[in-house]
């Protein structure tokens, strides 16, 4: 989905159209559910629309990060080789 146009507001794009994260979480070497808990904490602390980059090499993260995004309604922008890019759900349009 890299640069596919699903990336939202301009503030999260460089000129090349690449997503830029607001926060990088390095959970390499930690096992699930720890990387997902770290995502949950970051999601609590950041405003909607923020982009989080998660580095996690536990094999379970490949399944659990997408499942978490689905449960919470966040967008999984990229998931590749232990690197996940998540955009937090935007507030409901008023």
């Amino acid at each position: 989905m890299y640069g596919s146009g699903r990336l939202g507001s301009g503030s999260h794009r460089t000129d090349e159209g690449c997503a830029v994260s607001d926060l990088v979480i390095d959970e390499r070497g930690r096992l699930c559910p720890l990387p997902v808990i770290a995502l949950g904490r970051a999601a609590r602390d950041l405003p909607p629309g923020s982009v989080i980059e998660l580095l996690a090499d536990d094999p379970a993260a490949a399944y659990d990060v997408p499942a978490w995004c689905q449960l919470r309604g966040h967008d999984l922008l990229e998931a590749d080789l232990g690197r996940f890019l998540v955009r937090l759900r935007a507030p409901e349009p008023s």
């Binding site: 096992l31 699930c32 997902v36 949950g40 904490r41 609590r44 094999p59 379970a60 399944y63 659990d64």
Partner: protein, 386 residues
């Protein structure tokens, strides 16, 4: 009070359950009457033979097979390994590929990997979010040239979803490919599919003893024994069969078949209660598997932010034995391939599988303790309010 999962809290029947009382009685009697070699012609040998034949006829009738189509193995896994290797050998001229589902028991997938090591190949057909195999994709794979055999479970052993055996069997028949149905999760619980060329099952899943598997091969199916020649079990399974254990297995299957509708209705209702109540009682839970087309006795759910190992030991301390498909519980630290293929949460996973003698009170008590166990683990992990 510190408890460990006692008799009433045993909710892991799919891993193996206590011997059915009918099996225990048959086993003890058979140690007196069925100890001799059934291949010998003296009186004690003939008696063993008669008992073994009776057990075979009984199991065959339950599976919708002819007695001479049924052989006993030393486990369900051994039956699957023989089924796959024998069909691959019998079909060597047609091809060297196994087509199977992504959520099969690991013994099927390992048998496929053995074919790969021998120069063949394996194709795994994906499943949907409920764990049901994609019939159209299956049919496409079966129509490709070079397929030796197909294997499909009757129902999934981890999430309970019933597979579309009839539809896959039609596609296999159209392609001229023999179908192995791994019925281990269903036998003794639900009716057994009739559309199979080879069928496998495992006695300890239906209240029989461990160490007894079933390999049923329809007359006329091209199966060639992958083992060195041995005349036992119709030349299909080498070695002296454990006659008392086989008799006990047959006795258990007769007993649970006789009560199957009542047992299934009870389990179905208790699982429905768990499926309905768990998401109400515990926040952030994903109950997985098909809610309707499922085995009566299996339900699986995953609790967000909870690690599976803590859940297994927390519930054990509260008196309940359950299993988990989470990575931390597995030897290899990889999550269950079933949950992974379904695309559902793999951590915090609980599989509840009801034994035949489960009580309503045990299920209610499980539902009572579960929320506290989950909440405590989440609190300890600092994962509250996320």
């Amino acid at each position: 009070m510190l408890a460990t999962s006692g008799p009433n809290g045993f909710l892991d029947a799919a891993s193996g359950q206590r011997l059915h009382p009918a099996a225990r009685a048959a086993l003890l009697a058979a140690y007196d009457d069925g100890w001799a070699d059934p291949a010998r012609l003296y009186a004690a040998g003939r008696r063993s033979r008669l008992l073994l034949d009776a057990a075979r006829a009984s199991v065959a009738a339950s599976l919708g097979a002819r007695p001479d189509e049924v052989a006993f193995t030393s486990s369900g896994t051994a039956a699957v390994h023989l089924a796959v290797a024998g069909l691959a050998r019998g079909r060597a001229r047609a091809g060297d590929r196994l087509v199977t589902g992504a959520v099969e028991h690991s013994c099927v997938l390992q048998a496929g990997r053995a074919m790969e090591s021998a120069g063949g190949s394996m194709r795994t057909v994906p499943v949907d979010h409920t764990g049901r195999v994609d019939v159209e994709r299956y049919a496409v794979e079966l129509a490709e040239p070079g397929v030796a055999l197909a294997a499909l479970q009757s129902a999934n052993h981890e999430v309970g979803t019933v597979q579309p055996v009839e539809l896959v069997a039609q596609a296999a028949r159209a392609a001229g490919v023999p179908l192995l149905v791994d019925a281990a999760a269903s036998v003794g619980r639900t009716s057994v599919p009739s559309d199979w060329d080879v069928l496998t099952a495992s006695a300890h899943k239906w209240g029989g003893p461990s160490g007894v598997g079933v390999l049923a091969i329809r007359t006329g199916v091209r199966w060639r024994s992958p083992s060195p020649d041995d005349p036992r079990e119709g030349g299909r399974v080498p070695g002296f069969p454990d006659v008392p254990a086989v008799l006990a297995a047959a006795a258990a299957l007769e007993a649970v078949d006789a009560e199957r509708e009542m047992l299934a209705a009870r389990a179905t209702a208790l699982v429905a209660r768990i499926r309905d109540q768990v998401p109400v009682l515990v926040p952030d839970v994903q109950v997985v598997g098909d809610p309707e087309h499922r085995l009566p006795h299996i339900v699986t759910f995953s609790c967000l932010y909870v690690d599976g190992e803590s859940l297994v030991s927390g519930l054990d301390l509260a008196g309940f034995a359950i299993s988990s498909g989470s990575a931390c519980v597995a030897d290899a630290l990889v999550p269950s391939h079933v949950l992974a293929a379904m695309g559902v949460l793999t951590h915090g996973n609980v599989r509840v599988s009801l034994p035949y003698d489960v009580t309503e009170a045990a299920v209610d008590r499980f539902l009572q303790v579960l929320p506290d166990v989950v909440a405590r683990i989440r609190t300890d992990a600092g994962a509250v309010g996320l």
